[in-house]
Amino acid sequence: MTNNNLFSVDQLTIRFGGLTAVDRVSFRVEPGSIFSIIGPNGAGKTTIFNCISGLYKPDSGSIIFKGEDIVGQKPHRIARKGIARTFQNIELFSRMTTMENLMLGRHIHMKTNVWTGATFFRRGSKAAQEEIKHRERVEEIIDLLDLQSARNQFVGGLPYGTQKLIELGRALALEPELLLLDEPSAGMNSEEKQDLIFWIKDIQDELGLTILLIEHDMKMVMDISDLILVINFGKQITEGKPEGIQKHPEVLKAYLGEDEVIA
């Protein structure tokens, strides 16, 4: 293992009853790269994400982030280490405004407690100062993602594409080093997808983030990924650069079915 190893997964396995949802999956992500995981529905992609962010506890294997095994740690601990994620089915705080959703992303960077929070009565109070400071930071993200018009609206009523972007914004507000994006383009039209590709590249360049991506839109995956991991039925089929993956016989088999059946 090299020293610049930011994130790697080794022999990750998780079973639900008799079903092995993820079976000895291993991969390594270079810092600053975009690494995509693809595979048919039910292949175990989101399960891998849930293991990484601590929502599931894998049966065996390790997940190394910045030289430390994070398996078995609570989700909020893992978030504090610098891993943020979005969800396949939007998990926004629907009865909060866009600004408040993004402010929640700043949670780990803030210090206000019950007492200081309840007793701010002046602009100079600690809690008020902290709010102001972090709202400025959030505003930058709102500008970056062009969310000004949704700024003070409750997110529950916003269009699907906008909600997806707000989720991305919330993850960015945490200032992660590793960003997990679970089907960010699902439910977007082609124009919104173009914008999204642009933003993801922008985020990677400007913020120097490492991105782990699950995506069904092949054009988008081929367009932005540095490396692609293909899994099916929880097992990894192959890993490689976009050009190689497109022609890989096993990948074609997983997506299109057996040769004999077609012939």
């Binding site: 978030a79 629907s94 949670h107 780990i108 929070g117 701010f120 919330r170 945490l174």
Partner: protein, 349 residues
């Protein structure tokens, strides 16, 4: 685009001159109110203020954090007994005893919050219900707490002031209610309150964003119990005498009704809920004294709805009002308020 010029205005209580005017008017009217009202009404206002404190606190738990509690009468009792016992046995001054009473309630809230981590919805409702009932049982059987006979509440003095009328108590109760309401409002505008609301809307997203679920769920219980405890301490002085049956589990259900009728997740709604429902509770007791209708209602209740041989028409009407309110305005009184505001803003169109 709105006209906000800086981020402090996002969280500021009074961000315009007009609001400042109404805020000062409010304080002025609260100060003059007790000199205009007859004694019984002052008692009622005190009762309202105490219920508002509980309602605001319970709303932090139910409306903002999305956890239910049917045991708040338990925290109310802990605050009442804690305050009284600290004053009589350990000779604490009133304010210190009140705060300690609240903190003891908060501690029990924290303890109850721990199993609540694994329980949701109806299961949590039953667990908290059990807690509330257990508290009154324990208090009723223990001689330190005066047993079933209850406790005499000591004389109340604040520094040089002796408080022995409802009018004097008014200033204590309303000031404390006022401060606690402001504190709750501030709390909900900042980091901790946001974490509470986030847990309500999506606990999975909250924890993957770095919110410690264990900490914040128990914290919500503790804060909510603190409010109930302080209110309980004040309630003891309003009654002058407390016994376990004052804090029965029906009271817990009333508290929850205050929150829902006022409007879940709204501090202002909780204020309205506490005030209106207390007024109804105290006024409906006298429904039988109404000319003509009163007698009819009582005879109707006696012949059709009487189970225990007691006049229960006031409870029936109370229940009916709750049902109608919730059916026609799920956002509670707060919903009415919002609609009225919109109506006047756009009037005459």
């Amino acid at each position: 685009m709105d006209m906000k010029r800086d981020y402090y205005e996002d969280i500021q209580l009074l961000d315009s001159k007009v609001l400042w005017f109404w805020f000062i008017m409010l304080i002025a009217s609260l100060v003059t109110l007790p000199f205009l009202l007859p004694n019984y009404h002052i008692y009622m206002v005190n009762y309202m203020a105490i219920n508002v404190i509980v309602t605001v606190g319970l709303n932090i738990l139910v409306g903002y954090t999305g956890q239910i509690s049917l045991g708040h009468a338990g925290f109310f009792a802990i605050g009442a007994y804690g305050t009284v016992l600290l004053m009589t046995n350990l000779h604490f001054p009133f304010l210190l005893a009140l705060i300690c009473g609240g903190l003891i309630a908060a501690f029990f809230g924290f303890i109850l919050g721990l199993p609540a981590l694994r329980l949701e919805g109806p299961y949590l409702a039953i667990a908290t219900l059990g807690f509330g009932m257990a508290i009154t049982q324990v208090i009723g059987r223990w001689q330190v707490f005066g047993g079933r006979m209850g406790l005499e509440v000591p004389d109340l003095s604040l520094g040089p002031f002796v408080i022995d009328t409802d009018r004097q108590l008014y200033f204590v109760v309303v000031t404390i209610a006022f401060l606690l309401i402001l504190a709750a409002r501030n709390l909900m505008k900042t980091r901790v309150g946001r974490a509470f609301i986030a847990i309500r809307d999506s606990d999975i997203a909250a924890e993957t964003m770095g919110v410690n679920l264990t900490l914040y769920k128990t914290l919500a219980f503790a804060v909510s119990a603190f409010y109930a405890g302080v209110a309980g301490g004040l309630f003891a002085f309003l009654l002058g005498f407390i016994n376990p049956s004052t804090f029965n589990f029906i009271l817990s259900i009333y508290f929850l009704a205050f929150v829902i009728v006022g409007g879940l997740g709204s501090i202002f709604g909780s204020i309205m809920g506490g005030v209106v429902m207390t007024w109804l509770m105290l006024t409906l007791d006298k429904v039988q004294e109404l000319p003509y209708i009163g007698a009819v209602l009582v005879s109707f209740s006696d012949s059709w709805m009487n189970v225990a041989g007691l006049p229960n028409i006031s409870s029936v009407i109370f229940g009916l009002i709750i049902i109608l309110l919730v059916v026609f305005e799920p956002l509670g009184l707060y919903g009415f308020w919002i609609r009225t505001k919109i109506y006047w803003k756009t009037w005459p169109f």
